[in-house]
Symmetry: C2
Subunit: 294 residues, 2 copies
């Protein structure tokens, strides 16, 4: 389907994408670049990429498919560095967890070539980073949200959709704003709360003893707190308005529960927990389909 | 090791205990009672119990081992109903998630027979309830916290320790107060936060759309929100002082993170997330041992 994937950022997300594309026979050759030369070398040794490029621009030379798998804050600078080699025939995508900032940065960096860029967010990940954890199956079954604008080329949007589908993903599309609001609610806020949960334990003198008492519920609840600090710093700052707004909804729901506890209002407490429990028990990952607008 | 287990409450926790004891060859016979006759019947049909008893008292008749697996709020009434058959040779345990209230209720109900009661909390569970989910492996590898008092009979405490160890559990002991404070931090508060997270989504008009965007991080973070509402209503009320105190620590940690976001303080935000992420990445379920005081 594609001749050459130019991969910028050979970490967990980028490396897994390259492996998945290769395994599915979707790309013939992968040329990779990472900011750290040792990562690029490691990626080649592992067979994640075929050729090491010494710069982002050289990774893109000859590529008909470009994937940016860099921290969202680096999107603008990276796209500026490669823009001369982006043509209407190139499909350029990112994998960032926020989309409004990425779209703005891409418009500014790519200007008249912006139509080749299809903003993409595959909702998948691990609490571990680095190419050594790259996994051809990381995206299988995952949801991928594309956030095209009216300037996005229809042909590239269609190619992007087909590509992710061929990797076994469920593809949907929505506006960057709708994406960022939704992800604030179901991903960014949960991360913030998990960081706060670990912070709350760490500030107590007997933190080690408390952690020794923790069981499987705690393990799952805090799993996302082990996520990459720089990546999440950037996500929380890039989407801070939406995250802070969602955190108001959370504070109100928490206050209701605490009020029921303080008041000893058994029935209210049970009703609130029942609503939460029922909706969570009904929800299954991947059950509900989001619309594809194209 | 034991002749007869008198099982009061044949749900997930009780049923799994009976199955595990049978599989390990630790009890010869299980006589079971549940408030709902259909549950007791189901438990017998499934081979979880051998004999159905029509009352808690009759389940205990002839038993040298008694397990209460009922909601913590029902502990006192249940123990009162069986007290006539509790002797210094009987080992009586519960599996409740709170211990100060259980110990008080047991003292009141059992009076001079209180020494036979060894308060136990196996830190294991599922988001599903009912005997149909009973699993002989539920407790394997789990931590069991015993909270004996000075009136607890040494022989029964030792038998309790040996029994849980024979089921493959890590056994520790501490005061009921230390248990309740620790569990408030690492279990009860996380449940409260997970309930609030689901509540926050449910109050929004497009809750279904938001949930459709959720990925594996959300799935794990909210898994415990599907827990049994009545059980958790009771836990949160029984341990409310400690839970509300832990929730102050949480609020302070969350406010610090939100302050860094609002102020755009990149370094502070990164530092806070790094502390959380590092401590979570270092923690492994079952790595740290808690002391056994006996």
């Amino acid at each position: 389907m594609f001749e050459q994937l130019g991969l910028i950022g050979c970490g967990l997300m980028g490396g897994s994408f390259a492996l998945a594309c290769k395994r599915a026979g979707l790309v013939q050759r992968v040329v990779g670049y990472s900011k750290s030369p040792s990562t690029t070398e490691r990626a080649r040794q592992m067979g994640v990429i075929d050729v090491e490029a010494p710069s982002a621009l050289l990774a893109v030379a000859g590529a008909d498919l470009v994937l940016l798998a860099v921290p969202v804050a680096a999107t603008g600078a990276t796209l500026k560095a490669i823009r001369h080699l982006v043509t209407p025939q190139t499909l350029v995508m990112d994998v960032g967890s926020t989309k409004q900032d990425v779209v703005l940065a891409a418009q500014d960096a790519l200007r008249e070539r912006f139509g080749s860029f299809v903003p993409a967010h595959p909702i998948a990940g691990r609490e571990v980073a680095g190419v050594e954890h790259a996994d051809a199956a990381l995206y299988r079954g995952a949801q991928v949200i594309l956030t095209p604008t009216e300037r996005t080329l229809t042909t590239q949007l269609q190619r992007a959709t087909n590509l992710w589908r061929a990797l076994g993903c469920r593809v949907s599309s929505m506006s960057p704003e709708a994406h960022d609001r939704g992800l604030a609610a179901v991903s960014h806020l949960p991360h913030l709360l998990a960081f706060a949960m670990m912070g709350a334990i760490n500030t107590q003198d007997d933190a080690d003893r408390l952690l020794a008492m923790a069981g499987p519920g705690f393990r799952d609840f805090t799993r996302i707190a082990a996520a990459d600090p720089v990546l999440w710093r950037d996500v929380l700052l890039a989407n801070r308005e939406q995250v802070l707004e969602q955190s108001q909804h959370f504070a109100a729901a928490l206050e209701q529960l605490q009020h029921a506890m303080r008041a000893g209002d058994t029935q209210l407490l049970q009703d609130l927990i029942t609503l939460a429990s029922t909706s969570r028990a009904r929800w299954r990952l991947g059950d509900a389909a989001l619309p594809t607008d194209h």
